[in-house]
Symmetry: C2
Amino acid sequence: MERGKVRIALDAMGGDFAPKSVVLGAIKAHKELADNVKLILVGDKGKVLLELSQLGSENYPFEVIHAPGLITMADSPVDALRRKKNSSISLGINLLKEGKADAFISGGNTGAVMASALFTLRRIEGVLRPAITTCLPSEKGIVVFLDGGANADCKPQNLFQFGVMGSIYANSIMKIKNPKVGLLSIGVEQTKGNELILESYKLFSNSCLNFVGNVEGRDVLKGTCDVVVCDGFVGNIVLKFAESFDGFLTSLVKKRVKESLLFRLGAFLLKISIRDLRRTLDYAEYGGAPLLGVDGVCIICHGGSSPKAIKNAAKLACDMVEKEVNKTIKDKLTQNSKVLKEINELND
Amino acid sequence: MERGKVRIALDAMGGDFAPKSVVLGAIKAHKELADNVKLILVGDKGKVLLELSQLGSENYPFEVIHAPGLITMADSPVDALRRKKNSSISLGINLLKEGKADAFISGGNTGAVMASALFTLRRIEGVLRPAITTCLPSEKGIVVFLDGGANADCKPQNLFQFGVMGSIYANSIMKIKNPKVGLLSIGVEQTKGNELILESYKLFSNSCLNFVGNVEGRDVLKGTCDVVVCDGFVGNIVLKFAESFDGFLTSLVKKRVKESLLFRLGAFLLKISIRDLRRTLDYAEYGGAPLLGVDGVCIICHGGSSPKAIKNAAKLACDMVEKEVNKTIKDKLTQNSKVLKEINELND
C-alpha cells in the first residue's frame, strides 16, 4: 500500500471505562505512533471533548466524529445495530467501509462489533467465517489462539481456514517463521477428538500448513505450537477460564496470608507476581484480538481495557494495515490451489 | 447395603509410579480405613510382593491377585483389552462383575479402564452414557465438573443425565444440599451457546434439577454453581488446561527469580504457594474421578497419583459404596417420572 499515515478509528464509547480510557489510550498512541498514525475518536462528541479538555489535551490532532447512539454490553447485537445506526460501532465501521479509516478498534459489545463488521464490511473473498484471533502467553512465547468466540458451531473447513489465517497472522505480525499449527483436541493421536476434529485433522494434514497434529489443553500454555485452532465455543470457554485464574490465585493467596505470619511477609512479593501473571494472561496487553476474515482491520479489545491496551491495539492495527495481513489472507485463500482444492472437496 | 467391610480392588500396575505408589497408597489407606475397608491388590504378584517386602509390609492383610498382563499408557484401549485379558484392569473390573469387590481404582490407561468398565459392568439401568466426574477447587469450595473426557460427542439427553448424576454426587459425597447446576457455555443468556447447549438448556430448565442456567469459563473457578456440566471434549480440554497452569506459573516465577534479587528472597514463599496451588488443582487429591453411570464403583486416578491420592481414592470409593450413589442414580433415572419424561420426549 502507499506510504502515508494509517487512519485508525477508535470506538470512544466502548468498554467499561469509556470514554476516559479510550481517550487516554489515544493520547498514549499519539505520543508513540504519531509519525505513522492518525487517530479518529468516534463517540458522543460532547463527552469526548469534555474528556480531552479535562485532561488538558484539546490540542492533540484527533478527529472527533459524533456518534450519539450508545450500544451497551447488555444490548442484543443485531437489535442494537438495527435500532442504533448512529452508534460509535456502526459509524466507526462505516468509516472503514467508506475508505475514511484503515482500521477500527472497539472495547464495546463484542457481538455488536462482530455483527456490524460482518454485515457492513463483509468477509474477505474466499473466507467462509471470520475468527476472533487472540494471543496467549506460553512458556515458549506468544501463541496465536483462534477462534476466541466468533463461531459457536464450526465445520472442518472453518477450522482449516482459521489455521490458514492464524498462520498468516503469526508469520506477519508475530514474526514467527513457518508457524507450527495444532488442532486443540483431547489426545495427540489422529484418532482422538470429537467428530469435528477427526474430520478437520484430514484437511489439515493434507494441506500446506506446518501442521503438527492434535494438541491437548495442557499444550496451549506450554507453547507446543505457535497457532492453536479450535471452534469458538471451546475457544471462548478456555479464554474465560484462563482469565479467571488470576482471581482464583488471588483468593488462594489471601487465604494463606490470613493463615500464616510467614506468608504475610511474602505477600508483597506474591502481589507483584500475581500482577505479573495478570498482565501475562490479559490478551488486551497484546493489543486486542483482531476479527480475522472480515474485509477491514477490525480489532476487538477487552471491555476493561487500560489506556495501555488501547495504545497496543492501535500499534497492532497499524502493523496489520502496513503488513497487509488481509491481502495475504485473500491471496492465500483464493490463489493457493492446494488450499482451495481442500475446501472445494469438502464443499462438494 | 449390609454393613461389612467395603472390598476395594486397586490396580497395582496402573500409573507412572506403579506398583510402588499404589502399594504405599494401600498401606496409607489401611492405616486410615482398616475398620471399614478390605484392600485387594491386583497386579504382577511377584512385583507386588517384592514391593511389600522391600517396604517391610508383608504382614498387611492385603489380598494380592495375580494379573501378569500389562496395559501401558500407549496401548489402544480396545486392542489392549482384547489381547490382554489377564491385565490388572480386566481382572480388577471382573472382580466387581463377579461380586468379589465393591469398587475398583486405577491410575492406569484411562481409555482401557472406561472401555473395560463399560463392556464388563455395563451401564446403570437408565443411564445413556457414563461420565468422568472430577472435582475442581473454586473460590467458594469444591465444584463437581463433568464430563471430564468420557464422551467427545454428546447429545442433549447425555448432558442432562450428567446433570442428574453430578447433582446426586455433589449431594451424597460432597454433602451439598440442593446443588446448583450450570451448563458450561459462552454467555449466561439462554440464547448463548452452541447447538448442543441451546438444545440442552430447555431440557435442564424444565427439569427438577436446581438449574441456574448457563455459566461461563470464568465461573468454574469462581464457584458460581456446584455442578458444572459440559461434554467430554470441552471438559477434557478445560481440565488439562487447568493442570498446565502450575507448570506455566512455575516457569513465570523462575524467570522472575533470575531477573531480580528481591524476587529471590521471596522465592521460597512462592514455592510454597505454588505447591499449594498444585495441590489445589490436582483432582487426584480429591480422590480421583469416578466414572459415574457404569454399574459398579469405578474410580479413575491420575497417572501420576501419589500414595496420598490413592488413599483418598480408596476413601472416596468407600464413601460411594456406603452412600449407595449408584443406586440413587438408578432410582432417579428410572423412577423419577419428570426426568424420564424429558428424556423420552427427546428420544421420540
